[in-house]
Amino acid sequence: MDANINDYIYPNSNPSYSNYGTLGLIQMPSARMLEEGTLAFSWSGNDPYLRGSILAYPFSWLEASYQYTDVNNALYSRVSSFSGSQTYKDKSFDAKFLASKEKRYLPQIAVGFRDFAGSGLFTGEYIVASKFYKNIDFSIGMGWGTLSRNKVKNPFTVFSDNFEKRTLNIDTQGGELSPGKYFSGQAGLFGGAEIFLPNLKGARLKVEYDGTNYSEEGFRPGFGNAELLTKVQRPGSSRINFGIVYPYSNNVQFKLGYTKGNTINFGFSIALGFKDKDPLIQKNDPYEPVKNAEAYKVVSAGNETLIYRTALNVLNGKKLYLQAATLSGNSLDIAYSQGKHSSYVRGMGRVLRTLDSAIPDDITEFKLTNVNASMGMHQAIINRKTFNQNLSNNTYKILARETELTAVKYDKNEYQFRPESKLPFHYWQITPDLRSQIGGPDGFFFGDLRVALQSELIVKTNITITSKGSIGIVNGFDDLKLASDSVLPHVRTEIVQYLKQSQKYNIEFMHVNYFNNPSKNIYTKLSAGLLEGMFGGVGGEILYRPFKKSYAIGAEIWAVQQRDYDQMFSFLDYKTTTGHISFYYEEPNSQVLIFLKGGRFLAEDSGIRIDMSRRFQSGMRAGIFFARTDISEYEFGEGSFDKGFYFWFPVEAFFTNYRRGSGGFGLRPVTRDGAALLSIHQDLYSVTEATQINSIARDWGDIYD
């Protein structure tokens, strides 16, 4: 019997989640990790807490998560006019680092931090080891903070007396790291096992020795904001917890458990892997041969005009838009744009296969220039014979060696064949739209379901007018009333005014853009109008993005005025000038992008913003950001400084055919005015993604796709 028969006897064997949101046993963590590029959501109820967690695995060695915990034994505040009877909502970040992978005789070891940058209600650190033996996954670990119930001497006190005591300071303003207290104070042991049941679709039993120090967790008498406490957490009558996990699939799990000897818990989790290309749905969008291709070849042979018209016709038929062309000797130079393929290489490959099938055989070389917003992105010079020789076996790496890729400055006037576009041209689409406000004192969630019209009017090939307006259908904003308490100009904290006063209809943005490519590697953009939901004005960007490098440098400046709350055409009094110098570096192998932005922000504070993200081969990008400016923590308010995370998903991941576009999800724990940036659409770094060789090289395997 094959060793991997276990994959069939114990299918759906993805690790399961603890009630604290991250991978683990029932209450305790484990050393397990999901595959890098995985995003997950888990939800659990374990009195007095309801907890929802978003987890990301940007690397195989890092589990990062963000939790919202509904603390049902404490009030949001004692001021009923402020938060009514709403219970406390705690926000926290967890992280777990893989120290070593499981080996035949050695366990997997991880080091983790619970609630390390939140209010500290659940703060704890741990070192945990997990090891499979047959169908049982054992975990044993040592915890600090809220994981220190089963007391042992803190081993780190051997190194320093600083580890003797732990500062029990619950700071509900939160948001900052406290490295001084990590792994300090009392330590405790915990452990347990996850027993996989044979031929039950991956179902498993869990049992654990609970190391949670419930007397140090959450709200309790005599500590921190004890005045918010409405009911003391039920003390545990047993340290042994039990649970069962039933996976509906490898990525969807349901769980039920019994903790503390007196509490039933339940929950579910969903995980989606975005590491690889086409991650969710298999594509069925192959290259379709050109009809009557041989006839095109015969008819256009030796006739330059007919070759141009053939190229125009066959490419346009595949939504690969010929912009200009020049035939010189045996080389056909084509400038094209395309909006279907998010992989620039697949777009290039489809252009090549289309031309190869219909253009006379005496053309031996194709010179392809990719164009976006009338700016040259890159140029590829490809020998036709080499392209075809490598087609049947998809030996794309050999083709790569024979292909010349360069930066290009696109000037349509340099081409012989310049078909006239019918301009202006209008793209539009009507889509559902959802605006939401979560985690405020007025209520946990306020939603606004809308119908939005998004449009792009192409006036000239490098001048566009982009806009988005929407009409509200239904919302729950009646109880939303939080007023700004910011001491800074209210550039973002009047969000409630914006949401409520634009609930019937609004124009989210409407601006004109002018793009230019003054020389190779340099790109510019000017924009004017209603730039985003809260600001309108005029400004521009310049970007230097050398083709064969991994970095880019940009500068931008915007003169803006705050829009009125109804998000139509009127403005408030607040005006400012904001601008930044930006530096981008993308490490080509890991596709980790580091994006630094320094300058003056909307509330006229100055400082630096750091954004780090990783793109996966599927196109999903996961990132975090934070900013520090010349305002104090008091001036910033709750959260101390601006920070958050975001994900961008390729829309085509959800379809069987290729299509360009992204859907995004981002979250800041707290809305404040410090370090606020303009939300610019079609920023130059995004629009010029195809101008760097890394963006081509990463997808080169798609050339024959």
Binding site: M1, F654, R672
Partner: protein
């Protein structure tokens, strides 16, 4: 249209933002399933070669054309190069499916006879043994063969059916589960 890869946009802070653009059609296709392919006489007439309609689960439907016949094994090929090999209508090997099988040479290709066979599964890779037993039911002009398959190591027991045209011995249709991770496959065979 200007192509863009958006980096960081937050419509409102302290709240989540997701673009629902184009998500709805996905949900619709998941709920409703993909459209069926109706095989009528004109469709049959339009085909040059024998073909088979394969329906995997409730939604995936494909037409595969007969490419080769060798030693009683029919090889069916789809336009996207999935290949399915059948013997008496029973799938004995697949290539290109999300989960493939290959019944190893222990399979006795002598009609439907009880036997134990080894099957190579992929994604994940494993080799399992199956115990096959058969029962035949004769109806008007056709024989329905009911195959009981016991995956010995997996505590999995499935029932497959094969409808055979008694006049020529050719399979007309079949329903079979071939891989633990694939739903049942329904096949209708059309000969030319």
């Amino acid at each position: 249209m200007i192509k863009k890869v958006l980096l960081t946009i937050f419509v409102v802070n302290s709240c989540s933002y997701i673009s629902y653009t184009e998500i709805l059609p996905t949900i619709r296709s998941v709920v409703i399933g993909a459209g069926d392919i109706e095989i009528n006489q004109s469709y049959i007439d339009s085909k040059e070669y024998s073909f088979a309609k394969f329906k995997i689960g409730r939604s995936s439907i494909a037409i595969l054309s007969l490419a080769y016949i060798k030693d009683g094994v029919f090889e069916w090929v789809s336009s996207s190069n999935e290949r399915i090999f059948t013997f008496n209508g029973k799938i004995i090997k697949t290539i290109g499916l999300p989960h493939n099988i290959d019944i190893l040479d222990t399979y006795t290709r002598q009609g439907f006879s009880s036997q134990t066979v080894l099957v190579a599964l992929d994604n994940p890779n494993a080799t399992v043994s199956q115990f096959l037993t058969y029962q035949s039911i004769v109806t008007e002009g056709n024989v329905t063969v009911v195959e009981q398959v016991i995956f010995n190591e997996l505590n999995l027991d499935v029932t497959n059916t094969y409808v055979i045209d008694e006049s020529n011995g050719r399979p007309i249709s079949s329903t079979q589960k071939i891989h633990p991770h694939l739903p049942k496959i329904s096949i209708n065979f059309y000969y030319k």
